[in-house]
Symmetry: D4
Subunit: 165 residues, 8 copies
């Protein structure tokens, strides 16, 4: 599930069963032409690899990490603890408790280690948030993303308006 060409965003998830939810993050990034990679990195089943992924992310050129996980969802928070990059957490709803456990496990991080949490199953917004973050930079690429974002928001508005009268 990996893409190449100097990825700027790393999308990781605790299990490949999270992919149907997380796929929307990749789609959003593609709409913005933002290179990204996708990987399964389980906090609980391959903790050292997970730590390594986080430790090396900035050095490898990643600028944002999107991490999705469900239940006692530790992946986003653990990655945030080993990288200086912004980490976006996506609460994946599992069979029970409808994602409320995932949400609280991701958003209620202690002071010092923030995770930018989006809605339950909100992977599309995770992708869009990554785009906003990349667009917050000072270089030309950032300006280009900002411009696309303005267009995107205008399209969103137009589509919504069309549904009205």
């Amino acid at each position: 599930m990996t893409e190449t060409a100097a990825p700027q965003v790393g999308i990781v998830m605790g299990s490949d069963s999270d992919w149907p939810v997380m796929e929307d993050a990749a789609t959003a990034l593609e709409e913005f032409g933002i290179a990204h990679e996708v990987d399964v990195v389980s906090a609980h089943r391959m903790p050292e690899e997970m730590i390594n992924y986080g430790r090396e992310a900035a050095g490898r050129g990643l600028r944002v990490i999107i991490a999705g996980a469900g239940g006692a969802a530790h992946l986003p928070g653990m990655l945030a603890s080993v990288t200086p990059l912004p980490v976006i957490g996506v609460p994946v709803p599992l069979r029970h408790l409808d994602g409320m456990d995932s949400l609280l496990s991701i958003v209620q991080m202690p002071a010092g280690v923030p995770v930018a949490t989006v809605s339950v199953a909100g992977a599309r917004n995770a992708g869009l948030l990554a785009a906003r973050i990349l667009g917050a930079g000072s270089d030309d690429a950032a300006a280009a993303v900002r411009e696309r974002m303005a267009t995107f928001q205008e399209e969103l508005r137009a589509a919504a308006e069309k549904k009205g009268a």
Copy 2:
């Protein structure tokens, strides 16, 4: 409550009664030497000003918005709908429901308009997340923030370790 000198982060809140919570965001930014401004911008009591604040934020040079609100907390999401900047939402706990209403009102945004939500009353992490976002850029200032973040994380580690054996 405003600070000057080319602010990069705008901290806004729905009411000045949110300041005891939101103050931690300002403190964190100060620790990172990030210029910021602070303002009361109520979505419900001054909606046009709120819309204007969001519309003009990027043009004024802001690169990240931190918005705190409680109860039916609409400020972060409304700002996110009128700016291409990343918006960080801080659920402020009010007298009843312990911030659960604030959290859900902020984090459960519809696809298209992301808010980077932190924990209930987690304003310090909002400031740190803003720093991470600024540090994700490609210029020297970003590199400087990343470096400080690495130092900060090391200090966090050292302080925690010291409390152990």
Copy 3:
């Protein structure tokens, strides 16, 4: 989805996907012969239009607004902040959290800006509440609505009684 002829009630919703829920409000108003209009007005995707809708509602002759939205549901509260009219909020349940997020995002409004909230997916009651509000007036039309409401309540009673012994 718009109806004409001097509408007294405006039914708006954040997305056309809310229509299967919100349709019940229109049906109730039709049963009371109350002219109404229906529109998609998204707080998050077309904020200025939303603000305009609210600002102009009273001037256009609307007397009650019914607003439905789901998740971080900001539409009812935002409209209430820009109109002096009574605003009725309908929490629309989305795929996750069963409408609890919608309910809290609508009902927990800060002091100063009330939203008359009905039950999760309770659009029929929103229509009936609008009728009661119109019936609370002092003119002949209000008296007529009150009379219909008395008949309606009697029919409700009769239907319920018939189901018993």
Copy 4:
């Protein structure tokens, strides 16, 4: 606790221990110069009187009822079932469960019998909502209330703005 002079709004509560919460409704109405009455009408301890209160409210000239109750809060819904008037429900938080039981007991009414629910302990908004409802009428008194509401909203805005920069 009763006031006189052709009351247009009836404020009732299940117990006099609800008064510290419900008082804000009376204050709001006073700010709008709306005549109102206040009474203790317990659904559970004086059910016939409660039914009578609801049955006679419209005939006595009341145009809106505000009902506050806590726990298994049945007063607003029961009154709504015996009056054609709009009924506003205020969930009063009791010692346990922080008003969540009160909120659900009031807002989750079955189709046919709406209650306009405000936030937990949101009695001030109940008063303001009553004002909006009275202001939705077609006569001069309604126009006067609407005008005051516009002033009130402007004052709200000005006060909020003043707290900002």
Copy 5:
């Protein structure tokens, strides 16, 4: 849905749509040979009839009332306020919130007016609880119910044991 022959237990529900849940109460009573009646008595749609039902229940010879309702479930509590008989409340789960609203609306009654609440959709236990209550009396009929209850509990035990090794 009514049965005859000097009913000792009255089973009532807010709507005939509650019958698939409430039927289990009738079945349990039949297993104990306890005469009962079944009726639809809506607190919200026929409040006076509901009050009358409660007021007359003891005089008509009923000794226990079982009341089922969903959402803002007021029937059990309102009946309890107008009868000296023990009232058993069954929280009926509706389409949203899975019965949690029904449970809190029934169980959280104020001091003075108790409702004996059973589990969400626990109508069978409501029937069995009515049997226990009738069996708590001092006459021969009560002794007979107690004896049957002992047999019932032994059968329950035997059936459970048989499922084990």
Copy 6:
């Protein structure tokens, strides 16, 4: 904490720290002149004694059991499984979760073993429910309790009414 003279109601609790809550049940019974006993019977710390208490309750002349417990509150349900008597469960709120755990642990009993659950900390209602149950009998003592209950309800009404206008 035990009282004598042919007790008809047994009040038990999991810990003597529950007494400040459970005391209200005893007070209510005293108001009705119903003889009762009070005991600490812990399901978790003295399970055999608890089983024995339940097994022997009916034979000793008890006609109703009131059981209070907090947290993973097993006492009411376990007693209900070893007695044919009606068991009333009182959810005692502990330091965390505000009694929601106690409530669910008591009310969500499986089919076959009912517990008559009252509100969180609702011991007074437990006592009144026991009185109603004893009043549901066919002998003179029951008639006397019913009469007192009617008086009690009238006093309740009068007191509430007096608090009104």
Copy 7:
């Protein structure tokens, strides 16, 4: 459903309808070659047998008990009160409330009587936790379990890694 040959772990459940959930515990134990037995032991329908099961468990050679139950789930806690063995509780989700009642009824045990609680429907983890407990011993069998656990964890890691890039 019982297996033989000096069982070290007893798997019990309140009802045979819990088996589809609890089966995963047995499967996990089989993967570790740990002899176990399976039984239906209902706290509510066969309390004395349940007490006996717990009292005799250690003497019969059992070293760990896994107990699954749903709703007001009393089996794990009651067994823990009559055995010195570690008891693992599995919250079984029933038709309503999605296992939240089961979880709180099992995990919120009072000080003195611990239950090792796993996730809602987490029977596989209950089996693995039993293996870890047996592996914490000092004899050769424990060393063998520990070794298998290391292999198991490595396989888990390898499988997860394979799903990544």
Copy 8:
């Protein structure tokens, strides 16, 4: 906060502010004469040290780990992923949400990595569970712990009984 002499149980917590809660675990172990160590090991602030602690725990002779953490509590689950030892998780309640976030973050672990979760703030039970686990072994020390546990349970029973009649 560390104790010496061949510790068999390691008590760790995410922050020294958890100590007032976690102290009860140490006290319980002391009552059973079980050697233990205490350390602050933060999953989020010193992740590699945390991983190392878990990786080395078994080799250093620890046989059980007790881990307490609050909010998005990742420590127990992360330790469980890097040790074959049984890990007991204690949900520490923080300032908001009363430990519900801590509980779900600890107990809802994915299949493969169990955490033995106790109640919110239930550190004493964590200590007692560790004792039960050590007592489940086959050697003399285990037999001694089992014996003490029997005495402890008898004392518990006697103390509870004494509080009764």
